[in-house]
């Protein structure tokens, strides 16, 4: 009884703290992700937030959080949107990779990290946060802007590139060789193309299998499938995250909208556990000494992301200011970077953790601020206008 009472009280306090942080983030117009990370980081060290009894529950919740985050990321885009982005913005995706993932990898090596950890770091730096950016563009009323299709296309391409990057990373992190990694990527590539073809041909049947007028049924069926596939993927060494991501991609568009609505609250809850747990697993003493290096990295990679956006928006025939807006929007990093770092830490490359945490803390806050204000900085008439 004593244990149960403690568990409930701890969880209750935890939710209250998360709610307070979420509210604060909302007031400031920011994503709650950096706040969750920071609270984990601050409370983990001095045990201001004791999660002893609730610990195992929160940790299991964090694992489910990753699976739900990736399931919903996979649900975000349809096969048609992906094909369209591939046709129109293939080169933008490539430029984005060359400008961000490659320097990220080199930077990791420069820091003296093992190459597997550098590979993880390159992913952390490469992937913009589609979750934060899509919401930000809507909040700022920029969905109608001409550069926005370019921004969203780059996000889709990054996310789909993750379907190949993640299995490769997981294999390398677990000590596999190049052949095994190639096998992993080939497997994922095969699975993705099979899924896309199946979604094209028989998507409606998958949809019918999953859909039900009751939300409860839809939630249970989706969760069941995602968890089973994630478990199998983890078992064969491809990683649970990859499995649930593929499930998300496989769900047909007609059904994905409803699935997203139903699963979003659940995702928000467990994802909060994930970010918090990630923060808790680090200590402030590891983060503080590397802050200058991370700050430098953030500045450099903000510039390279500006370059990615600049190039992509240019392909849409957008002018100077719009191209800068596109670049600024892409600088925000978030959930995917933390997921990648989580994989590295779990595989024993703990040195990636503090880097990724500090990096995301900086860019999940600075990115949206830059996006918000770049337009007024570049306004040639701003001194003349009364507001």
């Amino acid at each position: 009884m004593q244990h149960l009472s403690l568990l409930l009280i701890e969880l209750g306090i935890l939710f209250a703290v998360l709610s307070g942080l979420g509210l604060l983030a909302h007031r400031l117009g920011l994503s709650p992700i950096p706040f969750y990370l920071l609270s984990g980081l601050l409370f983990g060290e001095g045990r201001l937030l004791p999660v002893n009894a609730a610990g195992p529950f929160v940790e299991a919740g964090a694992e489910i959080g990753v699976i739900l985050l990736l399931l919903l990321l996979g649900l975000e885009f349809s096969a048609t949107e992906l094909m369209h982005s591939l046709q129109r913005h293939r080169s933008s995706g490539l430029v984005d990779f060359l400008l961000n993932a490659v320097p990220g990898f080199l930077f990791g090596l420069l820091l003296g990290l093992p190459w597997q950890a550098a590979l993880a770091l390159s992913g952390v730096i490469w992937v913009s946060s589609s979750g934060i950016i899509a919401r930000l563009l809507d909040d700022l009323g920029r969905l109608g802007n001409r550069e926005t299709p370019a921004v969203l296309s780059v996000l889709v391409l990054e996310d789909i590139a993750m379907a190949l990057y993640l299995p490769m990373l997981v294999v390398f992190l677990s000590g596999g060789g190049a052949w095994q990694a190639a096998g992993g990527v080939a497997l994922a590539l095969g699975a993705v193309s099979l899924i896309l073809a199946a979604a094209h041909k028989a998507g409606h049947r998958v949809g019918r299998l999953l859909s039900h007028p009751q939300d409860e049924q839809v939630m249970l069926r989706l969760l069941g499938i995602a968890l089973v596939v994630a478990g199998i993927a983890e078992g064969v060494g491809a990683g649970a995250a990859v499995g649930s991501f593929l499930v998300g991609i496989a769900i047909p568009q007609s059904f994905a909208d409803r699935a997203r609505q139903i699963l979003s609250p659940l995702r928000d809850l467990f994802a909060a556990f994930f970010f918090l747990t990630f923060g808790l697993s680090l200590s402030l003493a590891d983060v503080l000494p590397i802050l200058p290096a991370v700050l430098l990295l953030a500045v450099v990679t903000t510039a390279t992301k500006l370059g990615s956006g600049w190039y992509a928006a240019g392909k849409e025939g957008v002018h100077l200011r719009g191209r800068l807006r596109a670049g600024a929007a892409l600088t925000t990093r978030g959930e995917f970077s933390v997921i990648i770092a989580g994989l590295a830490v779990a595989a024993g490359y703990t040195e990636v953790g503090p880097f990724a945490a500090a990096y995301v803390l900086i860019l999940a806050v600075a990115g949206p601020l830059l996006t918000r204000f770049i337009d007024s900085w570049t306004d040639p008439n701003r001194r003349k206008r009364p507001h």
Partner: protein, 160 residues
């Protein structure tokens, strides 16, 4: 011009004859945002008209229904003497709830009922078995006298 907005919906761009550029973003839930652009920065949307899914379909109905009449008006311009009229089936109409064939409109007046507008949907080329409901709007084609006759038939002026 149509552009896919991944994760959001579809965007349509067009320039009105007055020179104003407009963009319409239709999201997956059916909501619509209508944007106009900054003069100094033609890539930046400035004013935004946000419509919920129901509001968007209401607007579509308002814009869409007269277009059907307009197209017929175009037709009647090309054929002298041919006119079109929108006739509403009022709740007190003797044919509300009855099949279209019961009106015997063509036999009695020589006019054709070519479409039925019901809320958001349009039934084109309705069959005689098509049941009419109150508040349906009938698109009728024929001569001026015949049209007035159909109007009287479908929704007779209240007596007493």
């Amino acid at each position: 011009m149509e552009t896919i907005l991944p994760g959001v919906g579809i965007r349509y761009d067009f320039t009105a004859n007055s020179g104003v550029s407009l963009a319409l973003v239709i999201d997956r839930e059916g909501g619509a945002d209508l944007f106009t652009f900054d003069e100094d920065d033609p890539d930046r949307a400035v004013s935004r008209l946000q419509l919920e899914p129901e509001e968007a379909s209401q607007l579509a109905e308002l814009l869409g229904a007269p277009r059907i009449t307009q197209r017929f008006a175009q037709l009647s311009k090309e054929i002298p003497g041919l006119e079109t009229r929108r006739i509403t089936v009022r709740p007190d109409s003797p044919y509300a709830g009855h099949p279209l064939g019961d009106t015997k409109a063509r036999t009695r007046t020589g006019c054709s009922i070519v479409a039925v507008i019901r809320g958001e949907s349009v039934i084109t080329a309705p069959t005689p078995q098509q049941r009419l409901l109150s508040h349906d709007v009938l698109i009728v084609v024929g001569g001026a006298d015949g049209l007035s006759a159909v109007e009287e038939l479908i929704s007779p002026p209240p007596t007493g």
